[in-house]
């Protein structure tokens, strides 16, 4: 087995409180040693000027396989993850068939095993067919390898079912991830954030209260049931305030946001830019500022991507009919650096904590740190390199990228999964 010595980089490992220029030795798939003057290895990488960190963990990725392999496959999705420095992804269950039983979970895990790219950690559906009516077989999902249950982009509208689902998940020790939404508040017709831009564009709005109300309901029931609860893609001021309060003394509640909510505002929808159609919608500056504030104060634990690849005809449609979402695996780290680290909202260590250490904790995987003996999932990036987002260069099949054409700072240069170099 080969050993690799990565030299002279700035090693950041939030879990162990390390942020210094040092060397790291990988041997037998593991982190063997950290420090200066380490023994010679079979190969050496000069990481001068670069940052070395635990491989990133993304809690929300739509891999589309099985079902819509024209949009993405497990292979292209995992390659895209690696290109973005992400070594572990949670695969969301809105597949066809829906991952509401062990078969899809086993299929995805087996594919991941064969591909040997990034690690795949599937999430199962909370209810059968994501219909919000009948509980899925969570015990079997767990035994098959699911790390969480979630109804993905649909929130369970019946609070009674939600409560039972939380209790069932708690019984089998599975975290519940929720997209928080009260659908009746926009009659299922909202297309973008409700505000001045929706009024100007004549597009029905999704108010912030749609999410706030959903967050509140989920939090109430999570507190009551004591389930481990994770709020997906948080985008509103009040919703985050509710979560901040609930987190006081309750370590079982966590939440995440995505780059689109701290980097963009609803103005991006002007000219009916369907790449900017997102769920939850990209919100006004007031909410964007609140998201940044909650990233800074620690309310938001994780940054995920909600990577949602589509084929061009899915987006080349009237805004009302266009598909939701944007690809994001290959841009999230750079967006974090450009919009959070460079303006001094977060340190590199805090960013890495939210993109690696914390998400690993949420799904209870032994990743997201570089302790001695840890599996050597490692990302190296140049924190200063500038580049322009060109979806044509993506590993993902999806070309629908709301960040298209933007200039970002920070480029992934090397990625290791279990000690093997993948990028």
């Amino acid at each position: 087995m080969t050993s690799i010595l990565i030299q002279n980089g700035r090693l950041i490992d939030p879990k162990n409180g390390i942020d210094e220029i040092t060397d790291i030795l990988i041997e037998q798939k593991k982190v063997k040693a950290i420090g200066k003057n380490l023994k010679k290895a079979d190969a050496a990488i000069d990481a001068t000027g670069k940052i070395i960190c635990p491989g990133l963990v993304d809690l929300q990725v739509h891999l589309r396989e099985p079902g819509r392999e024209d949009r993405e496959t497990i292979e292209t999705g995992l390659k895209a993850a690696l290109a973005g420095g992400i070594t572990s992804v949670v695969s969301m269950p809105n597949l066809n068939p829906v991952a509401d039983n062990q078969t899809v979970i086993e299929f995805q895990l087996r594919k991941g095993e064969l591909l040997q790219l990034a690690n795949i950690f599937p999430a199962g559906a909370t209810t059968v067919g994501q219909k919000g009516k009948y509980l899925s077989e969570m015990r079997e999902l767990k035994l098959a390898g699911a790390v969480a249950v979630t109804d993905d982009g649909v929130d369970i509208q019946n609070a009674g079912v939600l409560e039972k689902a939380m209790e069932w998940a708690k019984t089998f020790n599975l975290p519940v991830f929720s997209h928080c939404e009260e659908v009746s508040l926009h009659n299922g017709e909202g297309l973008m954030h409700e505000g001045q831009w929706s009024t100007r564009l004549g597009l029905p709005g999704v108010s912030a209260q749609v999410e706030d109300y959903g967050v509140f309901r989920s939090i109430l029931l999570a507190e009551k049931t004591g389930v481990q609860f994770h709020a997906l893609h948080c985008s509103t001021k009040k919703g985050l305030e509710i979560i901040a309060q609930a987190k006081q003394g309750n370590s079982k509640i966590t939440c995440e946001t995505c780059p689109q909510y701290f980097a963009l505002t609803d103005e991006i929808c002007k000219n009916y830019n369907t790449d900017a159609k997102m769920y939850p919608p990209i919100r006004s500056i007031e909410h964007q500022q609140a998201v940044i504030k909650r990233l800074k104060d620690g309310t938001i634990d994780c940054i995920s991507t909600d990577h949602a690849p589509h084929i061009p005809p899915d987006k080349c449609k009237p805004f009302a009919e266009a598909a939701h979402g944007s690809v994001g695996l290959e841009t999230s780290l750079a967006l974090g650096i450009t919009h959070l680290v460079e303006p001094n909202h977060l340190t590199f260590s805090q960013l890495i904590e939210k993109m690696s250490t914390n998400p690993a904790k949420v799904i209870h995987i032994d990743r997201g740190h570089l302790s001695l003996g840890a599996t050597a999932d490692i990302t190296i990036f140049d924190p200063k390199e500038e580049w322009i987002v060109d979806p044509k260069q993506f590993q993902s099949k999806g070309r629908n990228c709301v960040f298209k054409g933007m200039k970002l700072t920070g480029k992934v240069t090397h990625v290791f999964v279990a000690g093997v170099q993948k990028v």
Binding site: E194, G195, Q196, S198, T199, R200, L201, G202, L203, P204, G205, S207, N271, Y272, T274, P312, P313, C316, K317, P318, F319, A320, E321
Partner: protein
């Protein structure tokens, strides 16, 4: 006796070397006050020419792609094109959609038949703007969802300016279903450009999010207050087909609270006029007696519509610059 030749000379002299600044007309935002004045001047001459057959667009094709039903706008564009000598064809129907063809592909198909102008009406806000990138033809938005209906606003603007001279310092009170009205979307933009003071009278449920801040208008729940000293009363019907009935208690109560009656009309300025984008719903949004009184401009609006549409077809079809477009 109308002198056609003289009027045509006058038309060309009035246009001079004026060019409309946009290739497509999808929003009033694309025009300046100066553009509006040019359009009004030309429309007045077209109005005088009545139904005279002209050859200004001879040899050009105009496609009328209406994906929603329409009476006045569709026939208005149709006649406008024919009076100008263009070959006007109904180029859109809901059948393409039913067969699963995307509107973006439909526009490319229409484009291949080389029309100079394509007029689009659709239930989708933004669709005319979106598809305009994929055709060499000029796209005119004849109503997109709840967004805009720019030719309606221009004909309304012409009607008001002819009546009041200038709109600066004048009060226009718009009453009714703001939330579902593309007529409002274009009219408020135009009135702001022309310097009018815009008041809106509607219940909270029929307003848009942040109507006041977005468009700089004054909002009134009480219609009487909104009508006081108004120069123009502009009523909008309740758009039941877009779900407005779910936004009011009953039509009965709505009509009592917001319908324009003779008593309410009397609150406006002495010489105030009444306008309506149509279709009118007698005794719901306007009392039947008011429809035909001398102060009503409802049918003038329709007449001006024909003139405005001729102007825009002519300006866009003869723009002195190739439009850039792409293929999907």
């Amino acid at each position: 006796m109308m002198d056609k030749k003289k009027l045509l000379t006058q038309l060309k002299a009035t246009r001079g070397d004026y060019q409309i600044p946009c290739h497509d007309l999808v929003s009033i935002d694309q025009l300046t006050e100066n553009d509006c004045e040019h359009i009004f001047s030309l429309a007045r001459i077209f109005r005088t020419l009545k139904t005279e057959k002209l050859d200004l667009l001879k040899g050009s094709s105009v496609g009328i792609a209406f994906f929603e039903s329409s009476t006045r706008t569709k026939s208005s564009f149709d006649w406008a094109g024919k009076h100008l000598g263009a070959d006007v064809v109904g180029a859109g129907s809901s059948t393409a959609e039913k067969k699963g063809e995307s509107m973006f592909d439909v526009i490319q198909v229409i484009d291949a038949m080389q029309p100079k102008v394509v007029v689009i009406r659709t239930r989708y806000s933004g669709l005319p703007e979106q598809v305009s990138q994929y055709t060499s033809a000029s796209v005119i938005n004849a109503g997109d969802g709840i967004h805009e209906h720019p030719t309606q606003a221009l004909l309304d603007g012409l009607t008001m300016v002819d009546e009041l001279g200038t709109l600066r310092g004048k009060i226009v009170t718009i009453v009714g279903d703001i939330s579902h009205s593309r007529v409002f979307g274009s009219l408020v933009r135009l009135l702001n450009k022309l310097g009018a003071t815009v008041r809106v009278a509607a219940p909270e449920t029929l307003l848009l999010e942040k109507t006041e801040e977005t468009f700089g208008v004054q909002v009134f729940y009480n219609v009487e207050e909104a009508l006081k000293d108004a120069d123009v009363i502009y009523t909008l019907r309740i758009q039941g087909e877009r779900g407005s009935y779910g936004n009011i208690s009953t039509i009965r109560e709505y009509s009592k609270a917001y319908g324009i009656s003779a008593e309410r009309f009397a609150l406006a300025k002495q010489n105030a006029i009444i306008m309506h984008a149509g279709p009118i719903q007698r005794d719901i949004d306007i009392h039947h007696v008011l429809v035909g009184i001398p102060e009503s401009r409802i049918l003038h609006q329709v007449e001006n519509g024909l003139a405005i549409r001729k102007t825009l077809l002519w300006l866009l079809a003869t723009k002195n610059e190739e439009k850039k477009f792409k293929r999907i």
